[in-house]
Point group: C2
Chain length 238, copies 2
């Protein structure tokens, strides 16, 4: 079996393959927010690519999260901070979500064999499940506007490292070879390692350091959101 990583939704057509589990990664912050929402009891998340689609749902009465360039979009209920997806307002609800990067990656990969959501918050549960599936794995980093970003790469490296501790089970693509080395350098202190990354600087400028700290904290939940018939649901509901 093979594990590889793709650094941009734009590049997904080059990497896509049959019988491959795609892990969507947008550590700061979409996939962290999605994991948080399911941990806090959301029923379903409908990812949409554009603000226009999100607005149609909003007009129909849905709860809608919308973020562009790190900021919540005016006229919607939430942005993509994980702290927006906690507590009673979301419990049992269906939420519609559009973000700059993460929901674009879901859109790109939606026809894959299985599409699941990964973040530091559900890392161990995700890796255990991936190992149990015995399938090819593609780590799809959402990046920033289709460019490589460091935090998604570091998380993809963490998954590669965990998965490839089972010797000889997976053949590592070149991107995963590189990421494994990258994670080696990052793992002592990911927050510090990422201090010069462009998106972390972007969020710090928006006063979102708490978001960053939370998103980089491993294993806050065991949920694995999975894409099924146009929406994300908890895996045990599939």
């Amino acid at each position: 079996m093979k594990i590889d990583a793709c650094f941009s939704p734009y590049l997904y057509p080059v990497y896509k393959g049959d019988d491959t589990i795609v892990v969507i990664i947008d550590v700061l912050r979409a996939t962290s927010a999605i994991c948080t929402a399911f941990e806090h009891g959301v029923e379903k998340i409908i990812p949409v690519a554009t603000v226009e689609e999100a607005r149609v749902y909003k007009e129909k009465g849905f709860l809608v999260g919308a973020e562009r360039n790190g900021l919540p979009v005016d006229g919607f209920d939430f942005g993509n901070s994980p702290f927006h997806y906690m507590g009673d307002p979301i419990k049992g609800k269906t939420i519609v979500l559009t973000t700059t990067n993460g929901t674009q990656a879901i859109e790109a990969a939606k026809d894959a064999y299985k599409v699941v959501i990964g973040s530091f918050l559900n890392m161990d549960a995700l890796c255990s499940w991936l190992l149990s599936e015995n399938k090819n794995i593609l780590l799809l980093c959402s990046g920033w506007k289709n460019k490589f970003n460091l935090e998604d790469a570091v998380f993809a490296g963490a998954v590669t490292d965990a998965i490839s501790n089972t010797p000889d089970k997976y053949n590592l693509g070149d991107a995963c070879l590189a990421l494994k080395y990258l994670y080696k350098m990052a793992k002592e202190n990911p927050n510090k390692f990422l201090s010069h990354s462009s998106h972390k600087e972007r969020l710090a400028a928006l006063n979102l350091k708490e978001d960053v700290r939370y998103c980089l904290t491993p294993n806050q939940t065991k949920v694995i959101p999975i894409y099924k018939e146009g929406a994300l649901v908890r895996m045990y509901d599939v």
Copy 2:
């Protein structure tokens, strides 16, 4: 000024920018072969994207190099081994070249402000020139069939490392931040570091270990090939 890296010709539209020098990187083996050819006195190299275009030139009487999947294509004069581009047969000649990856990257970036050829073979000359230019830099890794590959990334990391030794001159994009760390781990012994890379394994299977060793040897030439009006020429001819 900014230095960034793009890991696939397919992704170039996302990274392209005005006033940016694009360095084409295909360490194993196209850009190494091109540097070797100019060191050995070739006059001009016309890169073409397809074997069909190459065949048209061949029929007109040009010397033509053509490689696909690591092997020379039947009916042409050379493949893309650097050892094919040495000595009298190429001196003073115009050569047409098509390869699996490198010439695709040149094709993708051909309208950039300046397009130059980089490899370990001309590394120091290239870095000195880049520093003297005071422009944005994009390191365009050719990869393998539009996927990330390790050897191009390691070389892009080496260039990033050399360039960013001039403190605060360049703002590093996230890809270059990652590559700088990667190069830190690779630089003691790039040949060993690359031992599990997919393309190195591919070339080893084709009995091309000597090619790999030569392509990873820094500073065999001071030539910097540059793209000008549809062809690569030595920079001092521009």
